[in-house]
Every structure is written in structure tokens, then in C-alpha cells.
Symmetry: C2
Subunit: 230 residues, 2 copies
């Protein structure tokens, strides 16, 4: 991802949910063309905590403001991503997978809404995707629309007439299209971490849902997969 132009500080501010993965790195690159971005990541004791290191590194090198928000231990519980006793599956399951984290996007977006109001932004970016995704309910367009309606009743800013927009530029893109868009924006995907059980150095397992979707995306895009597998 190319460093942002410092002249861009005159642009409107946006809050970007940024995990350091493939999708949200592309999202951040897209948003930073038109907004002064405030990227936020969450420490929720996720198994793949090395994604936070990737997020920090990518935003730092791009000159984008970055904040890691710690969630209280045990709030986003009951998932293979947060409970070491639940194994991350290496085969595709029917329905919503055990990697689903209860109310994760609602907790993330609620924090984004608070940050947006504090910094005076009316634009939030989230990298949800309804095509090559894992079947999570809080990635669907109808969910985002409902959150947006709620958010526009929730804040002092909304009462004062400011309209908050939740941007989801990836929502109808395939993984291959996301990758192609990111390559054009200068992203080095080697540094991004998507794997649900990435090791401490951010190296991927190659078999979880997230790895599989990412791998297939590079294949479909006809681009060599730069992912560091362990």
C-alpha cells in the first residue's frame, strides 16, 4: 500500500475497521484515496493476534493513524477464534461455522461509531463481503443497513443533522476482484495476515476457511499467492 499524501489531511475523516487481513487492507487503501483515515483494530484475545502486528506495520508504513482497542477478556467468547478449546476446522462446514464470534461486528461497529463521533467523522468503512465469505450473519447487507439506521438515531451528531454513512466497498466483490483492486492500489499482500490460526510470525496454516478463500482468490485472480505459509 502506497504511503498517503500528506496533502490529503484536508480530506474528510473516516474511521476504518482494519484487522490487518487481506480484505481490510484493501479497504483501507480504497478509503485512503478520499479520506483522512483513522484505522482501528481490536485486541479480543483472538487466536490470530499476530494480525494486530500486521495492522500496526501496514498503517505505520502507509502513514495512517492507527488505534488498537482492547476489548475486555471474555466478551467475544464462545468461538473457535477466541476459545483455545474449540478447534479451527480444516474442512468447510454447513451453516455458520464455529469461527463465528458472537456479535463481533456489532461490537466493532459500535466502537467505530463512538470513535467517529469523537473525531468528528461521519464515515465508517467496514470490509464485509457477501460473496466469498464464511456465512457470518453480521456480514450481510441487510445487517449493515439495519446498523446504519440505528446509528443514525444513536448519536448527538445524528440529532444535529449529520448523516453517518457505513461504507462497504467490498460487499459485492469476489475475493479475486478484491485482490485485483488491491494490487492496483499497490498493496503488498505478503504482509497481510488472514489466517484464523496464524502463528506468532503471522505465518498461515493454509487449511482454515480464511486461508482457503484467500488461496482460491489468488488462483482466480491469476496472481501468485504471496502468503507466508508455515
Amino acid at each position: 500500500m502506497r504511503p498517503v499524501d500528506s496533502a490529503m489531511s484536508q480530506q474528510p475523516k473516516a474511521v476504518v475497521l482494519f484487522s490487518g487481513g487481506l480484505d481490510s487492507t484493501t479497504l483501507l487503501a480504497m478509503a485512503s484515496r478520499n479520506y483522512e483515515c483513522h484505522a482501528i483494530s481490536f485486541n479480543y484475545r483472538q487466536r490470530h493476534i499476530s494480525e494486530l502486528e500486521a495492522a500496526r506495520e501496514i498503517s505505520q508504513q502507509s502513514g495512517i493513524k492507527h488505534q488498537i482497542i482492547a476489548l475486555d477478556e471474555g466478551v467475544l467468547a464462545g468461538s473457535a477464534l477466541t476459545d483455545p478449546d474449540i478447534k479451527v476446522p480444516d474442512t468447510l462446514a454447513e451453516g455458520i461455522p464455529v469461527t463465528y464470534v458472537p456479535a463481533r461486528n456489532t461490537v466493532f461497529l459500535a466502537h467505530a461509531l463512538a470513535v467517529a463521533e469523537v473525531i468528528g467523522s461521519t464515515d465508517i468503512f467496514i470490509g464485509v463481503n457477501a460473496v466469498d465469505y464464511s456465512g457470518y450473519p453480521d456480514c450481510r447487507p441487510e445487517y449493515i443497513e439495519a446498523f446504519s439506521k440505528m446509528a443514525n438515531l444513536a448519536t448527538k451528531a445524528s440529532v444535529e443533522g449529520q448523516h453517518l454513512v457505513i461504507h462497504t466497498p467490498l460487499i459485492s466483490l469476489s475475493k479475486a476482484e478484491i485482490i485485483q483492486a488491491g494490487i492496483e492500489l499497490g498493496i503488498d499482500y505478503e504482509r497481510t495476515v488472514s489466517c484464523y490460526q496464524a502463528d506468532a510470525e503471522g505465518r498461515a496454516c493454509g487449511v482454515c476457511d480464511s486461508c482457503r478463500l484467500r488461496k482460491q482468490g489468488f488462483e482466480a485472480a491469476g496472481i501468485e499467492d504471496p502468503t507466508r505459509y508455515r
Copy 2:
């Protein structure tokens, strides 16, 4: 508040947003008649942090499970309740007061939603009130309704057909009516902390919005105000 009957553990579970103040203590007493309650409070470096001690004490003595969730420093910022540089006003202001905390109820309810899904509950109680309140946008019925719609699209539980209900039994009660209901439920309001700038011992200032509404409530209810003023 009377201790809960242990036979009640066969009742459905509910998550109750419980600050230790007058309204939410009444709410908790109401909810615990029909639900096995899981009370949650938030540490957001609020000025009146002694309310958490009240919450802990009240829930403990009532035999109700209680969890204090820590929010990351600086998330709920930009308010007289979280910024020591913004003074809590002692006169009633026009519009939304400076004690408004950006997106507070959205962050609180998002956490409640996560906790509810993890413990297998479809009932959340919040003590919002649209009568004797301070003009906060996230206390209005239309906000609660919008949050409820969003929540019912957000979770695995909702996709699996469970309908989440957000209960707001105080929403159309006056402060006097809340107090009367609480007295009937055996609440000792002396132990509750409502003041926006309560001291370390939970003693009230007597002049902030929250104190004023509480004081007027006792007067209107014809009940001696048991609040400990400093």
C-alpha cells in the same frame, strides 16, 4: 432489593445493563422477578466510578451474577462524564447536555448482545427512560427499536430463529413512578449512586442533572430522599 429466590434458576436468562444507579437498580429488581439475571456494568473511566462499587454491592447482596466490563481507555471520550477538563453543569442546558457520552448505549448494548448470545439468553434489559431524562438521543424509543431490528439480524442465534427482545420497562415511567415501583420491590435507594460526580464513597453532589431529576423524583413520589449528599 430482596435477594433472589434460588428456585428461580430455572427461569430464562436475561442480560441487564446495570450501572448501580436508581433507574437500573429498579430495572434489575423488575427483571429478577421473571428472569435469572446476568447484570453487566461498564468501567469506562467515568467520573462517577463509585457507581461500580454500588453495583457490585447491590448485586452481591441480591445474589445476582454481576460482571464489570472494562472498555478501552479513551473510547467513550469527549464527555463531561469521561473528560476531567469538561465540567459537569449545575444548571439545566438547552439541547443535548455535555454529559452525553458518544455512542454509549450502542457500545453498552453491543456488549450485552455478545454476552446474551454467549450465555444463551434472548432477553436484554436496559433502563432507558423517555420522560424524566436528560435528552440523550440513545434513550429514545425509536433508537431502541432500531437497535433491536439490527440485533435480530446480527447474530447466529437470530439466524437460527431465536428472537431477541430488548426490554425497556422504565421507558414511559416518571422518576416518581420508578421510585414507587422500586420501593414496592424492596429497594433501599440509599445504596444506589446516580450522581454524575459522586465522590469515592458514592456521595452525591446534589446539583447535577442526574441529582436534580432524582431529588425531584423523591419529592414527587412523596418519599423521603435517602440519598447520601456530601
